[in-house]
Homo-oligomer: 219 residues x 2
Amino acid sequence: MKTRKGEQTRALILETALELFRERGYDDTTMRAIAERAGFALGNAYYYFGSKEHLVQGFYARVHRDQLAACQPVLEKERGLKARLLGVLDAVLITIEPYHRFAGTLFKSAADPQSPLNPFSRESEPVRLESISLFAEVLENSNVKVPSDLKAELPYLLWLYHMGIVLFWIHDNSPGQSRTRRLMELTADLVVKLIKLASSPLMRPLRQTTLRLLATLKE
Amino acid sequence: MKTRKGEQTRALILETALELFRERGYDDTTMRAIAERAGFALGNAYYYFGSKEHLVQGFYARVHRDQLAACQPVLEKERGLKARLLGVLDAVLITIEPYHRFAGTLFKSAADPQSPLNPFSRESEPVRLESISLFAEVLENSNVKVPSDLKAELPYLLWLYHMGIVLFWIHDNSPGQSRTRRLMELTADLVVKLIKLASSPLMRPLRQTTLRLLATLKE
DNA sequence: GTACATTATTGAACATGTTCAAAAACTTTG
DNA sequence: CAAAGTTTTTGAACATGTTCAATAATGTAC
């Protein structure tokens, strides 16, 4: 039956939750507070979201949507790899910025291999794949040529790199997370140089060894 | 006053906790169960350990002590860097093996920047510094020569590498965590080769750039 | 040994995530 | 529209981490 009424309540609960997450962080946002502000009984929140953590999956999806939108202009205009990469990273940081306080305690659960919030988990797969394909896009329409063996794995590697930046951002307490931005600039440059270096025919043997290692890791 | 009685109770509670962690994992070990099996009232556990997480600091200290002991023979005998490195990694894996189930849910908290369990936190500093100095030892008495600029940072980098291995181990559900052992072999070889490569005078400029980046990251 | 101080221990209370059976609201069917 | 079925909502109950004031045990000083 899945009526419109349900969808509305569901959306309202998620909105309220994100609002409270921004205001007080994860731990200090109680399920009771969410239910109360949304105007429902406690149990109702659990009808739509199986647990507090499931609310965070909603957060992921929401944030990814906003990131896509935020980096579109740059990806349409720019062709240089570094500029495109920075465009995406910039979009990511801008989108998650209001949630900095929230992100710390969130990553609690995210690091647990059993948790559905883990970026490598099956539950996170949809968002993860979408995110990886965004980096494929970054690469695809840039003016940098990479050999096909590397090209296949590079989007995933760039996604990993981007996760590293986000991890650093979480720990970054400098005003406005300025250190993360510095890191972003420095490493983006390095990453692009490294890609060009690794693409050289001279590097083929080392490149293939490394790619094989990577394949082993991914099962 | 800090009498012997107190120390005994404290030790008993920690022992019981580790026992239960091994048996049922972290989440399924309730503070009540620990208190009950140790033969005390619930509140008493909190007299000695401020929270459930504080019990984990006890786990860290204990495990580090065992690791030191386990790798001592290899460090006294071997001089080759790869063998010494593998000796330590092997000791680490052997020591934490009974806690594999526990480690997953544990790293929940460990990833939270605010949590005292975070390996980078101030509370973890004592154990962290001891662990880093173990890698200094690995390097110091090996037969590999590294330039002094690199030598200063290398123990920390090796510690990071070792944390990466442990992180992989946590996620590794292959029987006996055999994939982690394969990864260990492969990467230890790579790491040693990389160290030798980075030590070459030709690599000085790139090495220094990278070290400067690292310094920036560490504040 | 008695009085005092410190350390250990208890048990009850509280907050919060989660579950669930029952009630209410809504939709479909005849 | 009434009956039957489905979705939504409620409120009370439960488990567990945590706190705290009260009590017991232990040590110290005279």
